[in-house]
């Protein structure tokens, strides 16, 4: 019972706060700007050369206002927005009218989820193992080399790094396709031909996420481990004549992984943003590319839908990681 009250409940409350703050920002900030989205869409249509008489413009304005949920006062709109959100209704896409935004998101979501989950798990495991070992054996030449490499890679933004990989391995040395999630005309199905095609197309986007993820995990893990190594119990283990590898894996890295689980929960939002950007660079058919298309066509409804859902999704994923944590940390389980 104490576990639920002390550990579970605060995390669930925090999840609700994140969703509340996030959705409130998503709702209010665009409305606080002087720009009127309805007017923007209308001027966009008229600037494309289409002639419209004033009556038609008025009718369009009316229907757009209704569509955006811009009727009534600010708070009325706000509650209406929550109501639609709970039903999962973000209205129709403006540029693929009348397909609902939700349907478009559902087509792209599996791509992003697949890419994100695979790369995050791979880079978390490899990055922490390498970082832990490099922190423990920090005077070895390989540890220093790894340290220098990740020190340079760590601060590079996702876009720049993906662009460099794209130029290198799709244009200069064209071994990987430069765009898309699968070859044009290939039918989606559960067979080897499709899966291998999918893997080849996903390789570069996955690589850029994995390499940057490893560098980030490496740097923090090395710092954590270099603090643990100075602890008394490690000294004692060394004095007791335990094997170096046993100390490194069972005593040092195992303990260092715990803060890294919390670190993962806190950085999920950033990793997600990185995945969106990487998808855009490689035109990978996930949420990022969907969002990019929406930016270019001014599809305000679609941007709103993707943003709201990512707030809820990331908050949920963070909660999930927090809930998994007690499985690894007996101190919390048996409190």
């Amino acid at each position: 019972m104490l576990f639920i009250k002390r550990y579970l409940l605060p995390r669930i409350v925090q999840f609700l706060v994140v969703v509340f703050v996030g959705i409130t920002i998503v709702f209010f900030v665009p409305r606080l700007t002087p720009v009127d989205p309805v007017q923007q869409v209308i001027s966009q249509i008229t600037s494309q050369g289409a002639f419209m008489d004033p009556a038609a413009v008025d009718a369009l304005r009316q229907s757009l206002t209704e569509l955006y949920g811009l009727e009534g006062g600010m708070f009325q709109q706000y509650f209406a927005f929550w109501g639609r959100l709970i039903k999962g209704d973000f209205g129709p896409s403006l540029f693929q009218f009348p397909t609902p935004v939700m349907d478009l998101i559902m087509i792209s979501l599996p791509w992003t989820a697949g890419l994100l989950i695979t790369t995050t798990i791979i880079s978390w495991i490899i990055g922490n193992l390498l970082g832990g070992l490099a922190g423990y054996f920090k005077n070895k030449a390989w540890a220093k080399t790894l340290d220098n490499i990740s020190m340079v890679l760590r601060p590079i933004p996702y876009y720049i790094f993906s662009l460099l990989l794209l130029i290198l391995f799709a244009y200069l040395i064209p071994i990987f396709p430069s765009a898309g999630g699968y070859s044009v005309g290939r039918r989606i199905g559960f067979n080897w031909a499709f899966i291998s095609d999918l893997l080849i197309h996903s390789f570069l986007p996955a690589m850029s996420l994995v390499i940057l993820g490893i560098a980030a995990n490496f740097m923090t893990m090395k710092l954590i481990v270099s603090n643990i190594v100075a602890e008394d119990y490690v000294m004692y283990a060394k004095a007791g004549g335990l094997k170096e590898s046993t100390i490194a894996f069972k005593y040092v890295i195992k303990n260092g992984l715990l803060p890294q689980i919390t670190g993962l929960a806190l950085s999920l939002g950033q990793i997600f943003g990185g995945a969106l950007i990487t998808e855009i660079v490689f035109s990978y058919p996930g949420l990022g590319t969907l969002l990019y298309g929406a930016i270019n066509s001014g599809d305000y409804n679609l941007i709103m839908g993707v943003t709201s859902l990512s707030v809820i999704g990331i908050a949920g994923a963070t909660l999930l990681v927090d809930l998994i944590y007690p499985l690894f940390d007996p101190r919390i389980r048996y409190r």
Partner: protein, 287 residues
């Protein structure tokens, strides 16, 4: 101060970062003496590879890449400084109030604070930028970035204040009648200033990264030359496909140097400020 600088220059990472930052700062000062207007097109011959007098080459828009990048560095750094400057103020206020007051105030503030840490900021910034778009000048972009970039550092400052509050001198000061404001400014600030400085650089990396990303997506005013808008135009004009490597590589390489230099500066500084590693260093010097 000079002593600290000498000590820091012994660190290879700091030396490299310092030199790179100096070169970039020098380039951004050079922009004031540019022979070309950065906003005008077709002032030089188009699509020339690097050669004298256009040492970085020219673009398909007829702009000189070297002089264009001097403006880009200056503008990107300005946006980063506005963003991280304002967000420092927010972070200090939230961190101080939360750490010093404690109790319910702390719980509520930290709950909001953690929301900003966890939230996926990129899609939210994309939403905001896509609404404002063309009206997004350097100052507004800086302010918007600052409103989202304070949370992590507020937590760092708060934890420092929490430990300071339990120190002996706090009780001495309170019992001898020091006002809270004076206590915080006179006694606590000397402890927080190094943290503020270290987090400032980290925040500049974040803000520049966000600026570059938004600009590449075409979500800021693409007329103003920044590192991001330079990449945006190079990608938009298909410079990779057409083989104008100098156009895309100039902003990419400059940004890589900028990010790596800022990061090395922040790691070497925070290692220098960390008392634990300082003891190790002194120990090493004596051996």
């Amino acid at each position: 101060m000079l002593e600290a600088f000498k000590e820091l220059m012994k660190d290879g990472r700091f030396k490299f970062a310092f030199i790179v930052i100096c070169v970039l700062a020098f380039m951004s000062i050079l922009s004031f003496f540019s022979p070309y207007d950065p906003l005008r097109w077709n002032v030089v011959p188009r699509d020339r590879p690097p050669s004298w007098p256009h040492i970085f080459g020219t673009t398909s828009q007829g702009q000189d890449l070297f002089w264009q990048s001097t403006f880009a560095i200056r503008n990107s750094l300005t946006i980063a400084l506005i963003a991280s400057g304002i967000s420092r103020v927010i972070a200090i206020i939230v961190g101080l109030v939360s750490g010093y007051k404690g109790g319910t105030v702390d719980t509520v503030l930290m709950s909001i604070n953690d929301s900003f840490v966890v939230m996926p900021l990129l899609p939210i910034l994309i939403l905001i930028a896509s609404v404002i778009r063309e009206n997004l000048n350097m100052v507004t972009l800086g302010i918007i970035l600052s409103l989202f970039g304070w949370a992590w550092d507020a937590r760092v400052i708060r934890s420092q204040i929490l430990s300071l509050r339990e120190r002996e001198f706090t009780y001495t000061a309170i019992l001898s009648g020091t006002k809270t404001f004076n206590l915080v400014v006179k006694e606590y600030f000397p402890f927080i200033i190094p943290i503020i400085f270290a987090t400032l650089i980290n925040n500049m990396i974040w803000a520049t990264g966000m600026e570059v990303t938004l600009a590449i997506l075409g979500l800021s005013n693409t007329e103003i030359p920044t590192i991001g808008t330079m990449i945006h135009w190079a990608v938009n004009y298909q410079s990779i496909l057409l083989g104008y490597w100098w156009w895309i590589l100039t902003p990419v390489i400059i940004s890589v140097f900028l990010f790596v230099a800022l990061y090395l500066l922040s790691t070497s500084l925070s290692e220098y400020l960390d008392p634990r590693t300082r003891i190790q260093r002194i120990g090493k010097a004596k051996e």
